[in-house]
């Protein structure tokens, strides 16, 4: 593992460190700068997707909390000078871009639902949860770190129609915010892991837009549903294990452990990695909820299977059931991301897919912690972000699906 970096000087000039720092500590920002940046975003600190979207040097995206209570002690401040934005720490500063609130957030669907409620933009991706329900809450076996969704009331979740979702994707697509559409679904006690529910959404998006789709769901009971997920148009899949340590997994994720099981999570990921392209099967391992050594073991285990570990840092929430949790420091976390980068490159897993994620440090951003230029990977990633690259990625994904999927008529 890379040697832990002591904080003797500012992290401002290393986008990897700065991203982690900003996610953990937030940023102070005055109303004038916000107005200048045309920003109007949520301030819920517990929700890691809430915050300012800032692009750090080397095109490193980060969503930074800026709610007053949370950021009072933050050494970082967002300032604006002559139309340019800077992150300042003490006397030093670094030039950044602030991503304005997407214009489509102001729009509503024909049924009157605000598009910002349906789709949330992170970088070039739009994340949509067509049904906000998670049955773990109804059974009171939800994951303990989960702050829950206020829409969930004993099974009465919001369910957006296919048309609502299509309108949202269309609006995001026109703004260039839908390079990848993330569709997620909570736990439902069906064998398919929710893919049958997502199927009409996936098919409709694929029918109307040349965009890639990632599906975040719980592992289905049988592998045939993973085949189905790929066949209907998903280009990437995330089955989040969250905690690698078996004991802590049972403690922190009682629903996942009891109803799905750790083994099934790992088996599904292993199988999915043989179905989906390299670098498109991912699993979250939350940093800080288990010993770092366990996370590192998890990184090795997943990358050996061809699965990309995504390592979000947990920010405590009063609504979550982890009262004694303490956020890890940047110095503790940083080497883990460096290790992740090494593990992913050693196992030759494509890093172009997991990119521009503002709420988590991506595997390729791990290069900042080990002083590696990763020229080839960054070139590939930049290419896939270009117009030509996006078209190429979509075409290759479509061609690959055409080659791999066989539909057998049962008659």
């Amino acid at each position: 593992m890379a040697i832990m970096k002591e904080k003797t000087k500012t992290y401002l000039h290393n986008p990897g460190y700065l991203k982690v720092e900003l996610m953990l500590k937030g940023i102070r920002v005055d109303g004038k700068a916000l107005k200048k940046a045309n920003l109007d975003k949520c301030r819920d600190v517990a929700n890691i997707t809430c915050g300012l979207d800032i692009i750090l040097p080397h095109n490193t995206w980060v969503t930074v909390p800026y709610a007053d209570d949370f950021v009072n002690d933050s050494p970082y401040e967002l300032i604006e000078s002559e139309g340019k934005f800077f992150v300042r720490e003490g006397a030093e500063s670094v030039n950044v871009s602030v991503v304005p609130t997407p214009k489509f957030y102001r729009l509503k669907t024909t049924t009157g639902i605000s598009l910002s409620k349906i789709g949330i933009v992170h970088g070039g991706h739009v994340a949509i949860t067509p049904a906000t329900q998670c049955d773990f809450f109804n059974k009171e076996i939800e994951c303990r770190y989960c702050a829950g969704n206020p829409d969930i009331k004993k099974g009465k979740a919001s369910v957006y129609t296919v048309e609502d979702v299509l309108e949202t994707v269309e609006a995001a697509y026109k703004e260039g915010k839908a390079e990848i559409v993330y569709l997620s679904i909570g736990f439902s006690e069906t064998a398919d892991g929710g893919i049958e529910f997502l199927k009409p959404y996936i098919k409709a998006i694929k029918k109307h837009f040349n965009t890639l789709i990632a599906v975040e769901a719980l592992p289905p009971k049988e592998n045939k549903w993973i085949d189905e997920t790929y066949a209907i148009g998903a280009d990437s899949v995330l089955y989040n294990l969250e905690i690698f340590d078996p004991k802590l997994f049972e403690d922190i994720c009682p629903g996942r452990a009891a109803i799905i099981g750790r083994k099934r999570h790992l088996d599904a990921l292993e199988y999915a990695a043989t179905v989906f392209p390299s670098g498109t099967v991912a699993s979250h391992l939350i940093v800080g909820l288990e010993p770092i050594e366990s996370t590192v073991t998890g990184i090795d285990f997943l990358t050996n299977m061809g699965v990309i570990p995504i390592l979000p840092v947990y920010r405590p929430s009063p609504r979550a059931k982890l009262p004694h949790y303490k956020m890890p420091s940047t110095e503790v976390i940083a080497p883990v991301y460096g290790y992740l980068y090494r593990a992913v490159t050693t196992n030759k897993i494509n890093t172009s897919w997991v990119r521009d994620i503002s709420v988590v440090t991506t595997p390729l951003e791990g290069r900042f912690f080990v002083d590696d230029n990763a020229r080839m990977q960054t070139f590939a990633q930049n290419f896939y972000k270009s117009r030509l690259g996006l078209k190429a990625a979509w075409s290759l994904a479509t061609l690959r699906r055409k080659l791999r999927v066989k539909l057998e008529h049962s008659d």
Partner: protein
């Protein structure tokens, strides 16, 4: 619909998937290569083009990369485009009597099945004679054969299959293990195969061959004449088939009373004989009698079509009921095969091939019959029997005219063995249906079938050698 993901290396999938376009490109290039070769002595330019088209169709029929009917349509359009035959003449060939006979036969069989008549007959016979294990095998075998005298063997196999399957399940026979189950399903398949060669009605291949013969030479074979020529082969093969079946798969059960309850339940399900069944049965009997006694004078296709019209006048069937029983693909396929055969014949290509390639050994009719029947019986194990006829018959007829052999004999030597495919499920739908039960494996079928194939060839040639002269056929 079931989804399967091909998880092999992507380069391997690409190579495998590119086989198809590469194959078609290569076939096209090969076609142009043959066309552009210097025309050999004794062959016209039209003949050369007909041979090129024939080779392409042969490749497509053998590989099955295009549906048989589509290959036939390709042949139909290519013949006038290459100037082998005139447009008008080409499309007129599709209106051949054989094509309409096949259409009529499909509709008549469909009416019999739709009315429930055929199922009733099947159940009644099996219930009456299937009192012992051997008796049940015998009754299925003979029933499948006899029904195939009057309707397509494929339809008979499809009709009897659910009943035999229920018998096997009712007797608690183990799939893949039980000898008795194997003998039941092979009795079904072999009965259909042997019975299917007995008349024009057992399959569309005989009318196809007769149609091709008529187009090429003007010679006709009528319904009665064909049956008389073939019947000894059928009888001997039925005896051999039953003997071999019961020896190769000796029964491993003693009691079949459970099968009887299947028959009784099924009989109850279909209720008493209704007006429709009587009426359809009456039309069928009259039709068969007309085919037997007036086929030559009135024409078998005319009789079939008049019977079909009668079914509709009497409101015994509706078009909607019949549509599912009419295999339009087969009808298109046969139209194309007849066109291709005629183009080979009329352009002189068939005669040229016969003269050039087969001429050296064609010194006796019996030898020619032996070789053509052998080629046919081997080819028909791996490909559609209609395709075998489409490939071999134009050459055979060409040869007959070159070497003063009666073309009818060549037609028999190809049309009859083309139906005798005992070894593999892909050879004929009856075999495929039997294997689809899971009670018999392809290996079992091949092991038992290879003996039947050899015996069938021997019996056919013995019939030609000893029986045909007895009924006045000069060899």
């Amino acid at each position: 619909m079931k989804v399967q993901i091909d998880r092999r290396r992507i380069w391997l999938i690409i190579i495998l998937k590119s086989f198809r376009p590469v194959f078609f490109l290569a076939t096209g290039l090969f076609f142009f290569y043959i066309i552009n070769l210097p025309t050999p002595d004794g062959l016209t330019i039209q003949g050369q083009r007909a041979i090129a088209l024939f080779v392409v169709c042969l490749i497509l029929w053998v590989t099955g990369l295009l549906p048989l009917a589509i290959t036939s349509l390709l042949a139909i359009v290519t013949v006038p485009l290459l100037g082998i035959l005139d447009k008008k003449e080409t499309y007129a060939l599709f209106g051949n009597e054989a094509v309409f006979f096949i259409l009529g036969a499909f509709i008549l069989a469909g009416a019999a099945m739709h009315s429930g008549l055929s199922s009733r007959i099947a159940l009644a016979i099996m219930n009456r004679f299937g009192n012992t294990p051997a008796g049940l095998v015998f009754s299925i075998f003979i029933l499948a054969a006899v029904l195939s005298f009057f309707m397509s063997e494929h339809a008979v196999a499809a009709m009897l299959f659910p009943i035999v399957l229920e018998i096997a399940k009712g007797l608690n026979l183990k799939p893949g293990k039980s000898n008795y189950a194997k003998s039941l399903f092979l009795a079904l398949a072999w009965g259909c195969i042997i019975g299917g060669i007995a008349t024009f009605l057992g399959g569309a291949r005989v009318p196809l061959a007769v149609g091709m013969l008529k187009e090429a030479t003007g010679i006709n074979i009528d319904f009665f004449e064909y049956t008389v020529m073939v019947f000894p082969t059928v009888l001997i093969m039925l005896l051999i088939g039953y003997f071999w079946l019961t020896r190769f798969f000796p029964s491993d059960i003693e009691d079949i009373h459970l099968a009887k309850s299947v028959f009784e339940r099924k009989m109850k399900e279909i209720g008493k004989t209704g007006y429709m069944e009587y009426a359809v049965g009456f039309v069928m009997i009259i039709t068969i009698l007309f085919w037997l006694f007036f086929g030559k004078s009135l024409g078998i296709a005319n009789i079939a079509i008049v019977s079909v019209v009668a079914l509709f006048i009497l409101k015994l069937v509706r078009w909607k009921d019949i549509e599912e029983y009419v295999n339009w693909g087969i009808i298109l396929m046969y139209g194309g095969a007849i066109t291709l055969g005629a183009s080979m014949e009329k352009s002189g290509a068939a005669a040229w091939i016969a003269n050039t390639i087969i001429g050296d050994w064609a010194n006796s009719p019996l030898l020619v019959i032996a070789i053509f029947s052998l080629l046919t019986i081997l080819l028909t194990e791996g490909m559609s029997n209609a395709a075998v006829i489409a490939i071999l018959l134009p050459v055979g007829i060409g040869m007959a005219s070159q070497f003063n052999i009666e073309p009818k004999l060549i037609t028999y030597a190809i049309a009859v063995p083309a139906g005798l495919a005992f070894c593999f499920p892909m050879a004929t739908p009856a075999n495929a249906i039997a294997v689809s039960s899971g009670y018999i494996t392809t290996k079992d079928m091949a092991k038992a079938g290879i003996v039947m194939m050899i015996l069938a060839w021997v019996v056919f040639n013995m019939t030609a050698r000893f029986y045909w002269p007895m009924i006045g056929i000069k060899l």
